[in-house]
């Protein structure tokens, strides 16, 4: 992995492991309530909608729409060099179901709010697969 940039990484626990490791199977996994079918992110032990407690990690379509973005030019994190595109994407599975991520394989000048995206994963240390997003050529 020597060609990958340094990144600050999440600390895995029972709640977040499915999200951060699902990329090993090519899946973007979000908790979903078995009772009322609400997608719940960030993870919770109880469904905020129906208070059900059966919330298995569930694969999403991997598609998303760009909700907003910024091209970061300032070196906030030593070793993780700008410029890079930070994005908030919304998943089609549910209104308001969003992730903060990076938009990759897209020149900053080609970024457009509303553009169709699909997930791709960056394999990191300890089985972590960071979900990044790129333009969806099939849309």
């Amino acid at each position: 992995m020597s060609e990958l940039p340094f990144r600050l990484l999440p600390r895995l626990d029972d709640d977040n492991e499915a999200f951060w490791t699902g990329g090993a199977a090519g899946e973007l996994r979000i908790l979903r309530c078995e009772g009322c079918r609400t997608w719940v992110h960030p993870p919770q032990p109880v469904c905020p909608a129906c208070l059900g407690e059966d919330l298995p990690p569930t694969p999403t379509s991997g598609r998303a729409v760009l909700h907003t973005h910024t091209v970061n030019h300032h070196p906030w994190i030593p070793g993780f060099d700008p410029p890079y595109v930070i994005a908030i994407v919304e998943l089609p599975e549910q209104v308001g179901l969003r992730l903060t991520t990076n938009l990759v394989n897209c020149a900053p000048e080609d970024v457009r709010i509303g553009m169709a995206l699909r997930v791709c994963f960056e394999a990191r240390e300890d089985g972590i697969f960071l979900p990044l997003f790129e333009p969806d050529p099939t849309s």
């Binding site: 600050l8 992110h41 907003t68 970061n72 030593p78 908030i88 308001g96 903060t100 990076n102």
Partner: protein
């Protein structure tokens, strides 16, 4: 409705020297501001029976110099006997600490609460420039892993509020057609006012060409959309109105407070990223008064990043939702002689990042007519101090008797 805050007022304000950096320890700056506020009210240390701050000692290391001293350190320093005290970051923005003190006084827990906020970011950052929140580790082994809410942003390099709020601004640009040339007027207006404020950090004129040509930080924010870290401390004495009658100043009554957060407390999950908690805090404040935006003589609104001040103007109802860009364009409506004078001291963009408390300080200065060269004309009696951005926002509507 019980509007308990109407029994509470601000009776004194104080501020230390403000600089980047100052050769003075942060607790000494805190003492300077606190003692000045107590004297400004016409009180002594013995009169103070409450103490409050943001963000409190526990969050002091969130970023270098972000906080310098919690409640217990200042109680020890000034040897205060306290009936009530509170220091926390989990509140309605920086001024949430003051709103909490207002509540304590209204409930009868204390008569005179000293509120303070000290920053030491200029000294703590040194020559190294600004860093992200919680990113002190650097590369190599032994780098900490992140849980909690920061785990959802830090892996993607979204390490600063500059990034999170830039994305709010970008969404606003997309939905409403707002432009950088419009947004610039928050910064240009601040600098114009700072030129008349001897305590401001940056006082030389700033023009549109320089603003647009500055290096980008996080699009659409360039350097002049970001506030300036400083060393400094600000303090207030917040009092019960029954204990405020014979003090030095005419009391500044708290007409209404806004502390609401009615959406999800998240930088990316909130339903409307173009406003967030500012919408809710403003709505609550206006629900608690018969006054309205047209009654306000001066507005001091948080500008840690330029866009936040625009978002406050919309949320507070000085213009319609989405119309903030055209409203501030040209800088006439928000000038000191305009419809709604904004950030008359220069804001955090030019006067320095005193982190929320500077706005309440300036609102009181203006309502007491002590603004000197920058004093707004007429006889301002109604002011707003609003602070915070994203899921953190709080505001106070103030009236001078």
């Amino acid at each position: 409705m019980n509007i308990g805050e109407r029994n509470v007022c601000i009776t004194g304000v104080g501020q230390s020297a403000v600089g980047r950096p100052l050769d003075r320890k942060p607790l000494a700056l805190t003492a300077d501001a606190c003692l000045a506020a107590i004297a400004d009210a016409g009180l002594t240390r013995d009169d103070i029976d409450g103490l409050a701050t943001y963000p409190g000692g526990a969050l002091g290391n969130a970023a270098p110099g972000f906080a310098a001293g919690g409640v217990t350190e200042v109680q020890e320093l000034l040897r205060l006997d306290l009936d009530w005290w509170n220091g926390t970051a989990e509140t309605a923005g920086q001024l949430g600490s003051v709103i909490t003190a207002v509540g304590a006084i209204a409930a009868g827990f204390a008569k005179h609460v000293l509120c303070f906020r000290t920053v030491w970011e200029a000294s703590a950052q040194g020559a190294g420039g600004r860093r992200g929140i919680g990113t002190g580790g650097g590369g190599g082994s032994g780098v900490p892993r992140f849980g909690g809410e920061m785990q959802w942003r830090l892996p993607f390099g979204a390490a600063s509020a500059a990034n999170w709020i830039a994305m709010m601004a970008q969404r606003h640009f997309h939905e409403y057609g707002t432009t950088r040339e419009q947004l610039a007027w928050i910064s240009l207006n601040a600098r114009r006012n700072a030129a008349l404020n001897p305590a401001a950090i940056y006082r030389t004129p700033l023009d549109m060409e320089t603003y647009l040509g500055a290096r980008m930080i996080s699009t659409p924010f360039g350097l002049y959309d970001c506030d300036v870290p400083v060393d400094g401390s600000t303090a207030f004495v917040v009092s019960h109105v029954d204990a405020a009658r014979d003090l030095r100043h005419p009391p500044i009554r708290v007409e209404a407070v806004g502390s609401a957060l009615r959406g999800r407390p998240s930088w990316d999950q909130f339903d409307d990223l173009t406003t967030m908690a500012l919408r809710d805090a403003s709505a609550m404040m206006w629900e608690r008064t018969d006054l309205g935006p047209a009654d306000v003589d001066v507005a001091e609104c948080y500008d840690g990043f330029s866009f936040i001040a625009l978002a406050w103007l919309e949320a507070l109802g000085f213009c319609a939702k989405g119309e903030g860009g055209p409203f501030i364009d040209g800088g006439t409506r928000i000038a000191r002689d305009g419809e709604i004078p904004l950030n008359t001291h220069g804001g955090q963009l030019s006067a320095g990042r005193l982190h929320g408390y500077g706005f309440l300080h300036e609102a009181c200065v203006q309502l007491w007519g002590e603004g000197g060269e920058r004093q707004v004309r007429g006889d301002p009696r109604v002011g707003i101090a609003a602070a915070g951005g994203g899921p953190l926002g709080g505001c106070l509507l103030l009236t001078r008797e």
